[in-house]
Symmetry: C2
Subunit: 396 residues, 2 copies
């Protein structure tokens, strides 16, 4: 789910070979484009002026615009789903293992696009374009801060819909995404059933359950403890990066399974000769690694954006109906539901519940389990193992 | 594991009937006693003067002092394992369902005792007596703060050992405890194998694994983000109770399984008519409940004590040997190992690993699973279901 987890993985020299495979041989190059709307009205009814989001595409849109695929990104991700910006990039986009020429989502055949969400976490990442609390409010000339309206997964979908409209795309052959990208996938399939030929939600549910609601609050809590957060008013001042780093540390650990933690780190010390028994500043390797990952990721992220994303995820119920059952009934597309039995963020029971409700609502559902020790993150890092399932699903 | 979770449970009107059963009919009354040592030298080699801890007992020590049982407490617990201080107490000690006249641990037969640990979390609880950072250093007349030496599970055991010596107890018929109490149980059995006739570690491992080490750091992190923590120097000033409450909130959620969260709260709002979509201050019920539980518990707790407890747990490997295998080989007592398959703090795989290493080291091991949706907390709240197993184990 979480892009910054790659720094953890790198620190631990544990990046899976499948994850890097996409960088080999022929590199698919891409670029960040910007989609701008003079105005955009949120679900909450607020009209925002000059709304911009970044987007990327891989492959070529055909003449009748019938070969488009939409990839929706996860909580800490961006539209950089595949390829590299330049040959020398350290790593390609996060799903490069399954998106590219000849890959499961074959860019020789499909036009694959992905869009940075509103309130994207990486507001300070030069490769992200987003509109959110850190953006300048054209009416005041100052950043919105916490005056930015609360946005929902449905708002992210509406932005993508407007971009699709602008490109003349009437239907996606596939809408897919991991974690929060899976939420957007469900929302697309329920909100625009005639525009979604196939849906592939990965490591996600049809709604945020109580457990996820509570964990999102736990993730976000350190930000508000940081005195630099200052009620969200920190632009032009020192940002609350200690709180934000702590929040990102929680996410990094929660998004992975204990088997990963134990096999990777054991009881190793952060520094040779510095026994953690000898001081509060002497740490175990796993503590130091998670701290470093959180701090590194905080540099390109925005704390208020984190809070808005947490809220958007908490509020999610697919299809905006009174109940999940009603919302999922709107879905016509066949669903390829991919999840990890070791996922602690969207645990398997909730995935089964969504699958059952999808079926009860009339949808065709195929469910596949990922193997791995990364837990939730296997839906980002370990997708190559299901490439044949994705290929078959697209061929149907 | 965590006593404050009872306030969550109460708020949610979900206290299990087994948990309250002990309060009915005949109430067993107890009182807090104080054990004081003129000096105590920690494992780290620091000599502390005038070390005090609280303790309780239930039942009567027989003439030859052969009927003693020791109960070791969990992270946020105290020596109040059973009974009430007065008839009107809202609830009895946490394991009252299995300790009392005629119960699994029968106080008509056994003398059951329990001891507040050093650096006990409840430093501001009138029913806890402990020595730690919040205590006055007799050499300076001021609280130790972060100058208090790092202590380990072995130090907690040594304090208990000195109390046992003072009572003339040469051997315990049983040493038992949940979570951190289970760590103390393993340490007792490995450190003083001739003093432990039987060991019953509940919801715990023989060592802190990487996953637990990391989560203990996550739990503790909010404290240091609170500006009132001030490097641990806050005595006589405003304590870092916002950070401490946040820490306790994480523990409360982590100590319970998602089935509990989802079945208890669903997507209910904290206040009728206040849709969480309409403001950052409008919350879901589970968020508000966990916040309240953390804040309530913070009032009787001390933030530095939390940090010291986290460190003590992180450092734990049973028996103080080079490896867990070596440490567990020292154990002679038969072991009744009770755990929950839904425990997210000490997950089942680690319990199996400890059991396998115990057996490899020559110990006799019986393993039992608890049923329930509380996850880790089932080892505190749901013990009545294993009363017959405990009875049989004691009869052997």
């Amino acid at each position: 789910m979480f892009r910054f987890a790659r720094s953890v993985a790198l620190a631990a020299a544990l990046v899976s070979s499948t994850f890097l495979a996409g960088a080999s041989a022929q590199t698919m190059l891409t670029e960040k484009k910007t989609f701008e709307m003079p105005s955009f009205t949120t679900q909450s009814g607020r009209a925002l002026k000059s709304v911009k989001v970044g987007w990327e595409s891989y492959g070529t849109l055909n003449a009748d615009k019938s070969n488009a695929i939409l990839i929706c990104h996860f909580f800490s991700g961006s539209s950089h789903a595949a390829g590299k910006y330049k040959e020398t990039d350290a790593a390609p986009g996060y799903w490069d293992a399954i998106i590219g020429p000849g890959k499961a989502i074959d860019t020789n055949k499909y036009f694959v696009m992905s869009v940075d969400t509103l309130v994207n976490l990486g507001a300070n990442d030069p490769n992200v374009v987003t509109t959110g609390p850190a953006s300048i409010n054209p009416d005041t000339g100052k950043p919105y801060g916490m005056d930015f309206p609360i946005v929902q997964i449905g708002d992210f979908v509406e932005v993508q819909k407007k971009l699709a409209d602008s490109l003349g795309i009437k239907k996606f052959q596939l809408v897919a995404g991991a974690s929060m990208g899976g939420l957007q996938t469900y929302e697309w399939a329920a909100r625009y059933p005639d525009m979604v030929a196939r849906a592939m939600p990965v490591i996600s549910f049809g709604e945020a359950d109580a457990n996820l609601i509570a964990w999102l609050d736990i993730w976000a809590s350190p930000i508000k403890l940081d005195p630099n957060w200052n009620g969200g008013d920190y632009y032009g001042k020192t940002p609350p990066n200690a709180g934000l780093a702590s929040a990102l540390k929680v996410v990094t650990l929660h998004a992975q399974h204990w088997d990963w933690a134990n096999k990777t780190f054991g009881r190793k010390w952060a520094k040779e000769g510095e026994n953690p028994a000898n001081g509060h500043d002497k740490r175990f390797l796993i503590e130091q690694t998670l701290d470093n990952a959180g701090a590194a990721r905080a540099k390109t992220s925005d704390a208020n954006h984190f809070l808005y994303l947490a809220k958007a995820n908490q509020l999610f119920v697919a299809g905006g109906a009174g109940s999940l059952e009603e919302g999922l009934k709107k879905i016509k597309a066949p669903v390829l539901l991919i999840h990890s039995p070791k996922d602690l963020v969207f645990p398997p029971g909730g995935v089964d519940d969504t699958a059952a409700k999808l079926k009860a609502g009339g949808a065709s559902v195929e469910q596949i389990q990922l193997k791995g020790d990364r837990g939730h993150l296997d839906g980002v890092l370990s997708m190559k193992q299901v490439e044949e399932n994705i290929r078959s699903f697209l061929a149907k």
